[in-house]
Symmetry: C2
Subunit: 388 residues, 2 copies
């Protein structure tokens, strides 16, 4: 029986356990499964868990559970570590490795593949995409992204209703989203906007340096027109002639965060209004309630596909979601070479979406599942003639 190992790496999502379960369901009858604990760290330390019936049952119980049930984490995967990982796999008789992760994981898998070849070790590798940031190349979108986008769109809509009610007390709210160097998540904040009175009234994405004048103009206009302003900003945004704001650096990789606080300071100084910034936090990637049903399903399917391809002998590739060409939403699942994914690098939003958020929303809506919520217009637009 073929012995395959599977692990999860990087920041979890609300649906990454679905992918794991899809994989397990696909291979459990024809392969022996070994689970890798805590991502690359488990590969290096040989933290392997045998997929006996009890373990498979436990994994399958995690379908609706956020986080990465095997443990994922971040781990500096050095060249020495790669050699150790290959030794550990070989000593356990494992010649097939699947990993669920983002760009870093695809790179790690490719390094493992090349190093194994150099060492004359037979190693089949397959990557399965996962990221809330949607910054993996050669793919229409990544599992995990749709749920995070839905959370951010709903949060922005609900926050707007809250702030509209509180506008005699608080006029400006700045919401900072995840997304690293891509604006996909921040831009998703406007997906459920139905009326110009609703927020977001301004969205800042990393693909376009933030211009103070433009920001100020948009916020002033929103306040004049609606009495309040909701600004959404991606953690990766930088001011024109500025740089990204970092909370910390770990393993040489910056942890972004804090641009909303800078915007708060700037707007307070310019407008002297009650202004508050807020970082949306872990719920963006882990809140289980209201996750996208489409995302949940697609996450499962990419796992299943990885299992099938492993049985067919594919190696050195990532499972990719491509959008179908039919009028209604559909996807095709296709293999794409790891090296191609790596060469593509971090994927920013394409220009056609940056220049036209409506085109982006048309593309995005099917991914978030259950369509868009519909609220009545705000009082101020419904009864525009009421004195204020």
């Amino acid at each position: 029986m073929k012995k395959v190992a599977i692990g999860q790496a990087g920041g979890p999502t609300a649906v990454v356990n679905s992918t794991l379960i899809g994989f397990v369901d696909s291979v459990k009858d024809s392969c022996s499964i070994t689970f890798v604990e805590n991502g690359y760290e488990g590969l290096v330390n040989g933290s392997f868990i045998n997929g006996d019936t009890e373990m498979l049952d436990w994994v399958q119980g995690n379908k609706q559970v956020p986080g990465a049930c095997l443990g994922s984490g971040r781990f500096p995967f050095t060249d020495t570590d790669i050699k150790k990982a290959i030794t550990n796999l070989r000593q356990n008789g494992i010649h097939t490795l699947a990993f669920i992760g983002g760009n870093g994981t695809m790179e790690a898998l490719n390094k493992l593949r090349l190093e194994a070849r150099k060492l004359g070790v037979d190693l089949q590798v397959i990557g399965i995409p996962k990221t809330v940031d949607n910054d993996i190349g050669c793919i229409d979108h990544a599992p995990g992204f749709g749920s995070a986008a839905r959370y951010i769109a709903q949060t922005t809509k609900d926050t707007s209703r809250d702030l509209d009610a509180m506008k005699n007390f608080e006029q400006i709210r700045i919401i900072e989203t995840m997304g690293r160097n891509g604006g996909w998540l921040a831009a998703a904040s406007g997906l459920f906007k139905e009326y110009s009175e609703e927020g977001p009234h301004f969205i800042a994405i990393p693909e376009k340096p933030l211009d103070k004048k433009e920001l100020l103009h948009a916020v002033r206009k929103a306040i004049q027109s609606f009495g309040y302003a909701v600004v959404v900003v991606s953690e990766g945004v930088q001011w024109v002639k500025g740089s990204q704001v970092e909370i910390d650096q770990v393993y040489g990789r910056p942890i972004l965060g804090g641009i909303s606080k800078e915007i708060e300071g700037f707007l307070k100084k310019k407008l002297n209004l009650m202004t508050r910034s807020e970082l949306l936090g872990i719920n963006q990637r882990s809140y289980s309630v209201g996750a996208s049903c489409v995302d949940q399903e697609e996450a499962y399917v990419v796992g299943v596909k990885a299992g099938e391809w492993i049985k067919e002998g594919l190696s050195g590739c990532m499972v990719s979601i491509q959008r179908g060409t039919s009028f209604s939403y559909s996807i095709d699942i296709k293999p794409v070479e790891l090296e191609k994914v790596i060469r593509a690098g971090e994927r920013p939003m394409p220009l056609e979406f940056i220049q036209n958020f409506d085109a982006y929303y048309e593309w995005l809506l099917p991914l978030v599942g259950n369509g868009a919520p519909s609220y009545p217009p705000l009082l101020q637009s419904r009864f525009a003639n009421v004195k204020r």
Copy 2:
């Protein structure tokens, strides 16, 4: 036809529009309704909206919408303002006023009632409770609280799963909740905890000054046992021999926030581990997805009851929810004098709950609706013998 006015005041909740709609449904056939815009400010400025069919339809469309659809806000309600409000009501032929709000609203209504009496003006007033903080006295619990408690309990559970997966990278997460001077919301964070490995591993509430040694001991123990620690802290918490942390002061009332950042600094210094704090933000009171169905229904019912009592001629009272005495969860809705509510003041958690969170959770569970989510145990407890 009796002419009644209704308004909303203070921070919105996910269900405060249900209360408004309950009220409207209850009185619309026998009274003429006037809506007050933006809370007390609307009373003072005479921002009244006539409840014609179109307006009633619009209000009723807001049942699942968070925020306060009439506008609420905060407004310093001075003695001069009270006189202006009474004049505005009288000039519009309104002798009945219902307001949905918290402790401040009950005080404002009582002042209006007393001032009207002094001026010889006939004014019937009724208060309808609303607060996520659950700090209104003379009541079992307030509408809005159940939904916020559910959001916080689910967030803490989901964040724990996320952090457990990331523990080789991030070991400590501090979550700061709303709640003002009461610990009801922060303590709710443990409601869905099923295993000792899951967070929260430590909860700090304002009713009990935070002891550094105790906090450090709990966090150390969680890290030793589980590899990570989730701390939940209410915005109103102060250190032993410390004071509350304020973001700002508006209208002489402090806006609390920032104690989690102080805890982050303290733990970082003591433990030198990756530690991050996060303020949960507006979603606590406004996220519409996953609001408690029980809370939603009760919010509606207190509105209905207020309408009925207005028709019966009651005045000077607040609608209160009392818990039924039967074995299964039930409520009785009873009037309680405004003056009694005001005398009771801000309600902290009772000692029996502070000393025994399990007793609190037994009391709390029926309010959050839909029972508790059930997740499988964490990998580390499921396979405790795996080397790490």
